[in-house]
Symmetry: C2
Subunit: 338 residues, 2 copies
């Protein structure tokens, strides 16, 4: 029997219709390589630094900030060459007839995850991934100083089907002049839960899922990997910090290590055990100017492109997930052999 | 400069970032055929009627209901063989630990758009499309008699990338025990607009767009085809009835003719002038048990799969559209030569 499950963070229903299911192992497909066109020079490779807009940050292997002229870099942060949002626009909306319109104000940065021409995080060492996570937090702490920024998104598109336009692995940061609709929904949903239960919904999820032990895939000292109860997608995977705090950028040194371990486990699993599907991941972190201390709990979500959002999902906003998170968590746990 | 545009129906912002744009004609791509596996017998073809679940409705070329044994059918309606929702489930939600869960109650019907093995609406005559629209309205009027149904969705997935699982053209109807999140957003947005302006937002759009004449593609006696101001997707196209009423199923005889003309123009355009991209279309029709007479106005939306929803869109719920509706409406108008 298909069932509706309510996501208690978004306070929205999804449909789990596992009778239409593929078995988890059927998601294994031929690896489709994402390749730059032949002869294309990659602007993210070491030696091609002048092909990007003027850089914002350059780090060496130890995470030290180094000069723009120093070729021994491991990670660079640059503005997006084709930004979806621009820093020089004026905030505030204006009317155009019956409609509202607003300059596309915001920041859109690119983090070049490696100086080597590598197309998947799985081909990076855990220490390099640790460095990437460190850069995420550093940039957010810097960007949030601009009082016009209301919210921040860190994300990564892996593979052509996930919208990646260059094969060289890179992350992106967006700084927005509004709280996004998804963040607003999470804020409303978690506030409603908090008012009713005097507890953070995400903290409650951690307690309940540990007890049930059906959807938890892995945990280490500071983080838990789970397949969410109301999964919207096959193999949707979250990483949740055990400690309650709203904003990712306040992550502590030892948590960074622990988070990087989880991220490495995840990307290795998808690369090796599910034949490298395209995926998107992002960090949902608290808003900058809305008080959320008690009810918002930052988290990481990875959404593999293993199913198509069709007319029903687009028309209704209700996702149909063709696997159960219980099945996919079991599969993943067995493959991890942890 | 990229800009935020507010959809006054959903009351949500989208980003129009046309500097990242492709020109409209660049969306022409090689036709990728959707094909059933070789040797597969199509359950929707004439002669294979016994391969579907017991049918709900069978019509001849004149739209008359005919016997299940009559081979001269043009359209059949059958329950989905792998339904996402089932009629025999109990409505009402229950608790599972901290979560809510609800049987997947609802109806999920398939409309076989033609007795011939045809894969695209564009290969059907206008009179056959008229018949399909007529069936949409007939089924909705019938299904809404069940008091447990709160809202209805009619949709069509065209092509593999849009989630179609069989090449034989077919539509789907979903009957839901809730108002979907998208419908709820539309209801909230249009009610807010109505309270402020004492006018229906969609009626206002029709007046403003006719005056501006930048995003209107076509109109006939009862309908207008437009590319919406806050388009979420390249070539997103709406068909809006000129007369204000909330529920599609109350469409009148002469409107059906007029709507079918618009739909035929649309599907021909995408098939012939944009090289047959996959697309989803659906009808947003008013809820069955929420009073909306003054502020809700049914409409049709077609979303071609010409761009990928990547990490930013998934993480934020803000769509980035890489074309302006002004450009795509101009392109479409020129191609239609009307």
């Amino acid at each position: 029997m298909p069932e509706f499950r309510k996501d208690i963070i978004l306070d929205e229903w999804v449909i789990i219709a596992s009778e239409r299911a593929k078995r988890p192992e059927m998601f294994k497909e031929e690896k489709i390589k994402i390749e730059n066109p032949p002869g294309m020079v990659c602007p993210f490779d070491k030696g091609n630094e002048n092909m990007t807009p003027p850089e914002i940050l350059r780090l060496d292997i130890n995470g030290n900030v180094i000069e723009n002229s120093n070729p021994d870099w491991q990670i660079r942060v640059v503005p997006n060459k084709f930004p979806a949002l621009k820093p020089l626009a004026a905030p505030g909306s204006k009317l155009y007839g019956i409609y509202s319109i607003m300059d596309g104000f915001g920041l859109h940065e690119v983090i070049i995850n490696s100086s080597q021409h590598i197309s998947h995080l799985s081909n990076l060492s855990k220490s390099q991934i640790r460095l990437i996570v460190d850069v995420y937090a550093r940039r957010l702490r810097e960007i949030k100083k601009d009082p016009r920024i209301e919210s921040l998104i860190i994300m990564l598109n892996q593979g052509k089907d996930a919208g990646a336009s260059l094969e060289h692995t890179h992350s992106q940061i967006f700084a927005l002049p509004i709280n996004s609709p998804v963040l607003e929904k999470e804020l409303r949903g978690t506030l409603r839960y908090y008012r009713r239960h005097k507890r953070c919904a995400v903290c409650e999820i951690l307690v309940f899922e540990a007890k049930e032990n059906k959807r938890v895939v892995f945990e280490n000292s500071h983080f838990v990997i789970i397949h969410p109860f109301a999964s919207r997608n096959p193999f949707e995977t979250w990483i949740i910090p055990k400690k309650h705090y709203p904003n990712f950028e306040n992550i502590e040194e030892e948590e960074i290590q622990s988070f990087a371990e989880c991220l490495k486990i995840l990307v290795d699993f998808f690369y090796n055990e599910l034949s490298n599907p395209s995926f998107n991941y992002y960090i949902h972190t608290g808003p900058l100017h809305t008080k959320t201390d008690h009810h918002y709990h930052w988290h990481f979500e990875l959404i593999p492109k293993l199913s198509i959002k069709a007319g029903f999902e687009i028309a209704t906003g209700i996702d149909i997930c063709i696997t159960t998170p219980e099945d996919t968590a079991k599969f993943m746990k067995e493959k991890l052999k942890i």
